[in-house]
């Protein structure tokens, strides 16, 4: 009767599991409907910054180009070889269908450039020239005659259209921002460096760095082109966020194969060896179901799933296999074997285990880290699906299996483990390890833990930056003001404050609108000044020596003064202003905003040391990741202590404080030794190691309770097997190239091994003698 009742419980549970499983196709449909992206964007992993809407808009605007643009430098010792090779390359790339445009010739239409220069002679006149016009106009104007004697520098505008050569002052000012110079005979941007002539090519990708296939396709195309061109004696350097995305994806792919494939392979081997039946492989079904559910639920809940989530998620294999292993291990018990019966015995503890695990993961998702949230959701969903599969499908699959003792080797090791007694001298070893290890613990927090771009890619980027002078820093300035006038004034004040850094070679080019565009009020003031100069007789001996009359100069000044005031919108549309469009945010609710961006910054601390200027804010999209990570780590450490305290209290309540302390010794020593060993190994601890310690704590207590209370060989065998699978999958994580993931894996692998080794400390004194007798 009782047996019947519990069977109905199992059947009901199976029904529940079936419902869980039936949810899967629905999830698949839903995730298919949503166009989820696989992301390799570092920013999405890190804590969400509390950026205002304006800041967020600025960040998006700045990054949209970074994530789409690919810059190339084509080099060859013979400059004349470049145009043909560049044309060929751009043709090949265009044909790939991956790009909106591949340009190597810029500003081909000189007539348009000339027209826009002519119109902007007041609006874009450099500040230095304005100062000279105000302070010593006659000398400045007379000095502008020297250009006409020099046959080597044809101006873009002919002298009769621009006697004072304002247009050439503007184009020289524009050219000073880049290390590359515009070659008017070819329309290219080039530079001679390291014994080669380099030509700039810009490719704009059709989709951004977070699309699934594009980065990889582009990286492949690039390496193909590099190989072909190198064979012909050319060099090709590239710089783009797309390449980092591709590298991250490739690496994640490799690691998913390693962690997932390696984990599965290991588990298949273990299953075959320990159960001696191919049918035991059906234990893999819940694992696969769990992984599938994890991916589907993540795709449904998050707009993009990060590649690192998948890498971490792969380690779920080692955890999800525990449920079927529990059931299968019952086969090793002497007597008859009945899967449903085994499940019925296990159901309460399995359910409790699932609940605590899921709750634990959900607690993890409360951390302000999108990365951890994704891993938590992935794991919780995966565990639930695996559980569902175990209770409703697994028993039917393994019903035909006969009862069978565990393999001799496993039995042997499990029994040694069960009966192992640590000698007192081991305590000395622990103390020694701790004494040497603990002082050597180092903490390392920061972006470096998350980025693991290949060295070759970074070298290439450095070479590109050295030659082109282009290396945009992630930090930029956001400026706000009540009107355009004030905004441009603030930009100029900022430029002034940044000058010492540039002179000290700590900072490269600074891009700002104010440096190229004079506000309408400034333009009006210039017009007035020019008008005034046109009406006063000026001493211009050099012009007279050339045969240019003062009257001609005066009419030129009049003509300049009569140029219409150029609005910012018109200037931004002109060939001169187009490159600055990304810096312009516009007006919103009476606040005007713009961006000042930086290149080749040596040390970001220098920016924090700048005096604070009104309306100027330094924006760091990567955020104060450092401080955020540190405070998160602090919280996580408290969480570990809190969890430890709670566990101890619970144990005290249930088994009394003497036994509770005895049990607590296992996780406490495991934690201590893990940390000491990491110190000795010179592996820095990170926030992720703290989360790993939390898991070690839980596992350690688990093993201790088991050895204390369930002293049977068959279950010891099962536990050993579970520990092996868990170790396998987390241990594989330690091989990851991403330091944060590898330190998580290493810490867990060490901690679980140590917990396993130390667990016999908790076995009851009587147990040993009892087992010794039997």
């Amino acid at each position: 009767m009782r047996l019947l009742a519990s069977f109905t419980i199992v059947q009901r549970a199976a029904g529940l599991g079936l419902v869980l499983l039936l949810l899967l196709p629905a999830l698949a449909l839903l995730s298919g409907l949503r166009e989820a992206k696989l992301s390799a964007n570092l920013l999405e992993l890190l804590p969400q910054q509390s950026h205002s809407a304006a800041e967020q808009q600025a960040i998006t605007q700045i990054q949209s180009t970074l994530h789409r643009d690919l810059w190339l430098l084509l080099g060859h010792p013979d400059a004349d070889q470049l145009p043909r090779a560049a044309a060929q390359l751009s043709q090949t790339w265009q044909r790939s269908g991956l790009f909106v445009s591949v340009e190597w010739q810029f500003q081909q239409d000189l007539a348009q450039v000339r027209q826009s220069l002519k119109q902007a002679r007041i609006a874009s006149l450099p500040l230095a020239a304005q100062a000279q016009l105000n302070d010593d106009a006659a000398r400045f104007i007379d000095g502008r005659s020297a250009r006409l004697l020099d046959p080597f520098r044809p101006d873009l505008l002919p002298p009769q259209e621009d006697w004072l050569g304002f247009a050439s002052l503007i184009s020289a000012n524009a050219a000073s921002a880049s290390a590359l110079t515009w070659q008017a005979t070819r329309g290219t941007l080039e530079r001679h460096a390291h014994g080669q002539q380099w030509l700039l090519i810009r490719a704009q990708s059709l989709s951004d760095a977070f699309a699934l296939d594009t980065p990889q396709q582009i990286a492949n195309l690039l390496s193909d082109s590099q190989r072909t061109l190198q064979a012909q004696g050319f060099s090709l350097l590239a710089s783009s966020g797309l390449l980092h995305a591709a590298a991250a994806q490739t690496q994640a792919q490799r690691e998913i194969n390693l962690v997932g494939g390696g984990g599965l392979l290991g588990i298949v081997l273990l299953l075959c060896l320990s159960f001696r039946s191919a049918r035991a492989l059906s234990a893999l079904l819940p694992v696969c179901t769990g992984m599938l559910a994890g991916v589907l639920v993540s795709l449904c809940l998050f707009s993009s799933v990060h590649v690192l989530t998948l890498v971490l998620g792969c380690s779920l294999i080692g955890v999800a296999i525990d449920y079927p292993l529990h059931v299968l291990a019952k086969r090793w018990q002497p007597g008859s074997w009945h899967p449903e019966q085994a499940l019925q015995q296990l159901l309460p503890s399995l359910t409790l285990g699932l609940l605590t695990s899921v709750l634990g993961y959900l607690a993890l998702s409360a951390a302000p880290f999108p990365a951890l949230q994704q891993v938590a959701v992935f794991s919780a969903a995966g565990l639930m699906a695996a559980f569902g599969c175990v209770i409703c499908v697994l028993p039917k699959l393994i019903r035909a299996l006969p009862a069978h003792p565990a393999p001799a080797l496993l039995q042997h090791s499990a029994s040694r483990w069960l009966n192992w007694r640590w000698p007192r001298s081991a305590l000395l070893l622990v103390m020694l390890l701790a004494a040497f290890g603990l002082p050597q613990i180092t903490w390392s927090e920061g972006l470096k833990q998350w980025i693991s771009s290949p060295a070759a890619l970074l070298e290439q980027e450095q070479a590109f930056a050295d030659i082109s002078g282009q290396r945009p820093t992630s930090q930029f300035f956001l400026l706000e003001a009540d009107d355009l006038e004030q905004l441009l004034q603030r930009e100029r004040a900022l430029l002034e404050a940044l000058k010492p850094l540039q002179q000290a070679k700590q900072l490269g080019a600074v891009l700002s609108i104010a440096e190229r565009y004079n506000s309408p009020a400034q333009q009006t003031a210039l017009q007035l000044r020019l008008q005034q100069l046109a009406q006063t007789p000026l001493d211009t001996p050099h012009w007279q020596a050339l045969g240019v009359s003062p009257a001609l100069l005066q009419s030129t000044l009049h003509e300049l003064a009569a140029l219409p005031v150029l609005s910012l919108a018109d200037w931004l549309q002109s060939p001169l202003g187009q490159p600055y469009q990304t810096l312009w945010l516009g007006e919103q609710n009476g606040t005007w905003r713009s961006i000042v961006s930086l290149n080749q910054l040596q040390d970001s601390q220098l920016l924090h040391a700048l005096p604070s200027l009104p309306g100027v804010r330094l924006i760091n999209p990567l955020g104060d990741v450092q401080t955020q990570l540190l405070s998160a780590r602090q919280q996580a450490l408290w969480l570990v202590l809190l969890a430890a305290g709670l566990m101890l209290a619970l144990l005290c309540l249930r088994c009394g404080y003497r036994l509770a302390l005895r049990l607590a010794v296992v996780p406490a020593l495991a934690l201590l030794l893990t940390v000491s060993l990491l110190g000795l190994l010179q592996v820095p601890l990170t926030l992720f190691s703290v989360f790993a310690l939390l898991l070690v704590l839980a596992v350690g207590v688990d093993y201790a309770i088991f050895l204390q209370q369930q002293h049977s060989l068959a279950t010891a065998c099962g536990l050993c097997l579970q520990a092996l699978t868990t170790l396998l999958s987390f241990g594989l994580l330690a091989l990851s190239n991403t330091p944060a993931i590898s330190s998580f894996g290493l810490c867990l692998a060490l901690g679980i091994s140590l917990s396993l080794l130390l667990a016999p400390l908790a076995s009851p004194p009587t147990a040993r003698s009892h087992h010794g007798r039997t």
């Binding site: 004697l149 046959p151 329309g187």
Partner: protein, 206 residues
């Protein structure tokens, strides 16, 4: 007797073939040959006059002075009239002398390319010129005229054409710019392979 006749006939034949070869060389006076002719001297001293005819001015702008072109070291362009202005053109670009110091002139992004073009013109460097211009060469070694038409769309927007003429050395360069200006450079009193004076050496040798 017979033998003597043979020798005469043979030498006549040799002479004839030599003459034929000389004729051939004259008729195939092409750009490479001109290049070779212009590049014979390692160094050239001389005088120049530059005139710029601008639509807005009744009189052309005129400057004159002397120049030193050294195949290895570069070009010194020493303007004496209407006022003194010393320019130097070499691998590192254009520089101007101010208070005894040579300061790099970098006020036009396009200038680096043009200075190279200018040097190629003066040195008759056909390998540099051929990719940029279609050329037509008339005349012979003693008196020739080279007309250069820009090939690229971009260069067409700068020059209509360039005419270079001369004999053993370049005598005149005329640049007809697309926007209606015309520049003339006249060279005279050219002396090949003269030693550099002290001040010239100081200016040219880095």
């Amino acid at each position: 007797m017979k033998r003597r006749a043979l020798i005469v006939a043979l030498s006549l034949a040799v002479l004839a073939s030599l003459g034929a070869r000389a004729n051939e060389a004259n008729s195939s006076f092409d750009l490479p040959a001109l290049s070779q002719q212009l590049q014979q001297s390692e160094r050239l001293h001389g005088q120049f006059i530059q005139r710029r005819f601008l639509p807005g001015l009744a009189q052309p702008l005129q400057s004159q002075g002397r120049f030193v072109m050294d195949r290895e070291l570069g070009l010194l362009w020493l303007i004496e009239q209407p006022w003194q202005l010393d320019l130097r053109l070499n691998q590192s670009g254009l520089a101007q002398q101010q208070d005894g110091q040579w300061l790099a002139v970098a006020d036009n992004a396009a200038s680096a390319q043009f200075t190279r073009l200018f040097l190629s013109l003066l040195q008759g460097d056909h390998q540099q010129l051929t990719p940029l211009f279609d050329s037509q060469l008339h005349g012979n070694r003693e008196q020739w005229q080279l007309t250069l038409q820009p090939r690229s769309l971009l260069l067409k927007q700068v020059f209509q054409h360039i005419v270079v003429s001369g004999g053993n050395e370049i005598q005149q360069v005329t640049l007809l710019e697309s926007q209606g200006d015309r520049s003339e450079l006249l060279f005279s009193q050219q002396q090949p392979n003269q030693p550099l004076s002290d001040s010239e050496r100081r200016a040219l040798v880095p």
